[in-house]
């Protein structure tokens, strides 16, 4: 494995595609602790560098135990074959080093990198930085550079040593990567390797990640990849294998997506994508969510990495017109790694899962610095709304607005009254004409066929109207007389006066 890693650094291979991976099941309930924060931040930077390069890249995370040291240390190496990095990326990195982290890590990172976008440069720069120092006073300590030996490649390796259990680090890194899989970034092959010896003997764990190198991954839009990736994530509750208890049938899962973008600057375009996945609850008492639990977790990605939830993000979620989709929001709770939406009038007969990805799309070959992307709440709300509308357009009858849900409850009684008017009539011509309009045969006037047919058509109209964000189409025509007509809305409240003896 180490040899492989050396090959990656010193003899970069373009097109490291075609390697297949699988993944260990990780504990999807694990929250990222402050211990792994610097590692995850550095992995995030590596991911961004790979995305910016717009070519096939490899990202490797290697965990090497050295139990012989006192205290036992784990050397973490994060290497990627994306853009090279610039020193500012690490100089500006804000990494709160306090609490437990202060005791387990000295703050030092070792960086080896090629120049950005200059694969023909012959040198690999090396330096170390102390991330515990203030950003303002942080200065690199330059180390002897390496020579590329006539091989053209670009990439970065960042190393740090922490005093921490490999298992804890591995679990958190796996969980992190599992979330990254939601985005189904097609141009990065990712691997996580744990290597080294511990007191129980040598141990060599290889944890691989899923390969996405198929034609469709490259041609699909980021939004389509987000939807697909999120579906897979939901199916496995965040692990690689589908939970058959909750999802005996993949078709029970339905999704919708929405995207908004805004041209912010010359070099970048702000894009917000949202995906909504809804799973019907086949067995209310036996599912992993817990009986009667209808809460919705909302995951948030910013610039291709999972992001903690902020107040602005929560406000964006509470600003959505949920009633338009048949939901009444009780509250939105910040649970750091996701937002939790609690609904009124639960339990619902389905589970809603939402993911939002907010990123700057580089329109020119700009440097992949950590983006100071300020959250635009309106864009987030709009993206989620569009995802919900897309969902409703594809799956009629779902997420009917609160108003249309109310109206649809009258459909059976209305259908019964009209069917009664048709069937009770002793005028055969009238009956035949009504049945013909409904597309029914005369023998179908028995039983409840007429009533059911009318009811289905009424509900279908209500559902179609629900998909129409611009409002309901209303039709009324004079029945008996031609002539002047002024159709106004009749407000039922007009007739609710309890005393109006003088109607003049």
């Amino acid at each position: 494995m180490r040899f492989e890693l050396e090959v990656v650094v010193h003899g970069f291979i373009y097109g490291s595609a075609g390697v297949s991976f699988s993944i260990l099941i990780c504990n999807h309930g694990v929250c990222f602790s402050s211990r792994s924060l610097p590692t995850l931040q550095l992995i995030s930077s590596a991911i961004r560098r790979c995305i910016c390069s717009e070519r096939l890249c490899r990202l490797s995370v290697l965990l090497q135990r050295s139990p012989a040291s006192d205290p036992p240390l784990v050397r973490i190496s994060i290497s990627d074959t994306g853009h090279g990095s610039c020193i500012q990326e690490f100089q500006d990195l804000k990494c709160p080093v306090e609490g437990i982290l202060a005791e387990t890590w000295d703050g030092i990172v070792y960086v080896r990198t090629t120049k950005i976008a200059d694969i023909s440069d012959t040198e690999i720069s090396c330096y170390q930085l102390n991330l515990k120092e203030n950003v303002a006073t942080r200065k690199p300590m330059w180390l002897p550079s390496n020579i590329k030996h006539d091989v053209k490649f670009s990439g970065t390796e960042v190393c740090l040593s922490v005093s921490e259990s490999v298992d804890v680090l591995l679990a958190e890194i796996n969980c992190f990567f599992h979330q990254i899989l939601i985005l189904k970034v097609p141009n990065i092959a990712m691997e996580v390797v744990a290597d080294g010896q511990d007191t129980s003997g040598s141990r060599n764990d290889a944890v691989f990640l899923e390969n996405l190198f198929s034609g469709s991954s490259f041609t699909a839009s980021t939004l389509d990849r987000l939807k697909l990736g999120f579906e897979d994530y939901v199916l496995g509750h965040g692990s690689s294998s589908t939970c058959n208890s909750c999802f005996p049938n993949r078709d029970e899962l339905k999704s919708g997506g929405g995207m908004v973008c805004e041209d912010k600057h010359k070099l970048t375009k702000l894009v917000v994508e949202a995906a909504v996945v809804i799973s019907e609850i086949s067995n209310p008492t036996k599912n992993c969510f817990g009986a009667g639990c209808s809460d919705t977790k909302v995951l948030f990605f910013k610039d291709f990495v999972p992001c903690t939830i902020s107040e602005a993000f929560l406000k964006a979620l509470t600003g959505i017109d949920w009633k338009r989709h048949g939901l009444t929001l009780e509250c939105a709770i910040n649970q750091r790694r996701h937002a939790l939406l609690k609904w009124e009038k639960t339990p619902l007969s389905f589970h809603i899962h939402i993911v939002v990805h907010y990123y700057q799309k580089l329109v020119a070959n700009a440097t992949p610095l950590v983006q100071q992307t300020r959250l635009d709440k309106k864009l987030i709300s709009k993206a989620v709304q569009l995802a919900l509308e897309d969902f409703k357009n594809k799956h009629a009858g779902f997420l009917l607005s609160v108003d249309n849900l109310k109206i649809s409850r009258f459909a059976p009684d209305l259908a019964k009254a009209i069917a009664g008017l048709v069937l009770y009539s002793n005028d055969m011509d009238f009956k035949r004409e009504c049945l013909a309009i409904l597309g029914l045969q005369p023998h179908q006037s028995e039983g409840e066929v007429v009533e059911e047919t009318i009811k289905k058509k009424i509900i279908s109209v209500i559902e179609k109207n629900d998909q129409r964000p611009q409002g309901i189409k209303e039709v009324a025509c004079l029945l008996f007389r031609a002539g002047r007509q002024k159709l106004q809305d009749l407000d039922n409240e007009c007739y609710m006066d309890d005393f109006d003896p003088m109607d003049l």
């Binding site: 109206i407 009209i418 025509c477 003049l504």
Partner: protein
């Protein structure tokens, strides 16, 4: 006459073009209209652009009310014009009212096909059992009936629905139903002869009278007192009451008497308060609520008493303060287009004084005073 006044008075010739009214139809004709409504609904539901069509109803709000003023007479009455509004399923607060209309049409269709008649009360109980979620009060039924009248533009009676009448008649009137005994309304005692709710029956009554006046009385107690005292023999008259707010049958009957005996003046005896005036005006002009039908039954009833200049006959203690409800009715009356100026002045006086008085207050002058009061008023032409 200045141009504006000439325009207005000439427009009186054309007011009938604005008139929107409920037809009096046979059961088969009503059923045919219901069928049109059903076919229209189903066609639109199954069209290439399906929709749930709204129900167009004649607008029964004051904005659609018009006043017809007699060209050669002082008679005025209210009618509704051709302005429509809609009942829609697609508005969540109005969906129930929409379904009520269809449910009532279904019920009426069954009644008409069976060639039956039901009262509003019977209909209420039927609907209460059938659809308790939709018809939990009589008011729901009554209002929905008016919706169906406004939709199908046919009279309530044509739908097979009879309103029970509260009206009573006593005095110098002989009534005869076809092939029945003649009824002498002087011999009906203090309770009088009850006016039927069946308009067909009322239509077929033969009337004979030697009365000189028709007295329309607001309250049952006053009617009973006058009937008991056989006032109609001392003042040759017909006494009629609806025991409060006039129902359609009583108005129809009064109108029939007026048409049969056009030379008999009609006088109204009501309390001196906004509600009493409202009752008088309903007999006189008709109402918006029943505007599609009741425009036909307006009668030229003149206000005999109690009026402002009678207050001297009433002790101060009998004058009681107006309540908020009285002021509400007064406001509604004031805003109507049809209220004549002298009635408006009376109403203003009530509101300015903040007081009202009942007819019974006249008894302060003796239990037989009311008869003397009526005689004096008539002789002095003291009516407006």
């Amino acid at each position: 006459m200045e141009p504006a006044g000439l325009f207005e008075s000439s427009m009186r010739f054309f007011s009938d073009q604005e008139l929107c009214y409920a037809d009096i139809l046979t059961p088969q004709e009503v059923v045919a209209r219901i069928q049109i409504a059903v076919l229209n609904f189903l066609r639109i539901l199954n069209s290439s652009s399906p929709a749930i069509s709204n129900l167009p109803l004649i607008d029964r709000r004051s904005s659609n009310s018009r006043v017809s003023q007699g060209i050669l007479t002082d008679d005025s009455w209210i009618f509704l014009s051709h302005s429509f509004c809609t009942r829609s399923l697609m508005r969540p607060n109005a969906s129930k009212a929409f379904v009520r209309v269809w449910k009532l049409m279904e019920m009426c269709s069954q009644i008409l096909i069976q060639d039956k008649r039901v009262t509003q009360r019977e209909l209420f109980y039927k609907l209460l059992c059938d659809s308790p979620a939709y018809f939990s009060t009589q008011l729901h039924v009554n209002r929905t009936i008016q919706d169906v009248v406004a939709l199908l533009q046919c009279s309530r009676y044509s739908l097979g629905i009879m309103a029970s009448s509260r009206g009573l008649v006593a005095g110098r009137l002989l009534l005869q139903e076809p092939e029945q005994e003649v009824v002498d309304c002087t011999a009906c005692g203090s309770s009088g002869y009850p006016i039927s709710g069946d308009l067909d029956l009322l239509k077929m009554l033969t009337l004979k009278t030697d009365a000189r006046y028709i007295i329309v009385i607001e309250k049952h107690a006053i009617f009973q007192r006058l009937a008991d005292d056989r006032v109609f023999n001392h003042i040759p008259s017909i006494l009629i009451t609806a025991k409060g707010y006039p129902d359609l049958a009583t108005r129809y009957f009064l109108h029939k008497i007026g048409k049969t005996f056009p030379h008999l003046p009609m006088f109204g005896l009501v309390d001196w308060n906004p509600a009493g005036l409202a009752i008088l005006c309903t007999f006189k002009y008709g109402s918006i609520g029943m505007g599609l039908e009741a425009y036909r039954y307006a009668c030229n009833v003149k206000w005999l008493g109690v009026r402002g200049d009678d207050l001297q006959l009433i002790p101060q203690e009998s004058l009681v303060p107006l309540k908020p409800r009285d002021l509400q009715i007064a406001k509604s009356l004031m805003s109507s287009k049809i209220l004549q100026e002298n009635y408006r002045q009376e109403l203003t006086l009530m509101v300015e004084r903040g007081q009202k008085a009942e007819l019974e207050a006249l008894y302060h002058n003796g239990f037989d005073y009311l008869e003397k009061y009526i005689v004096k008023k008539i002789i002095q032409f003291s009516y407006i």
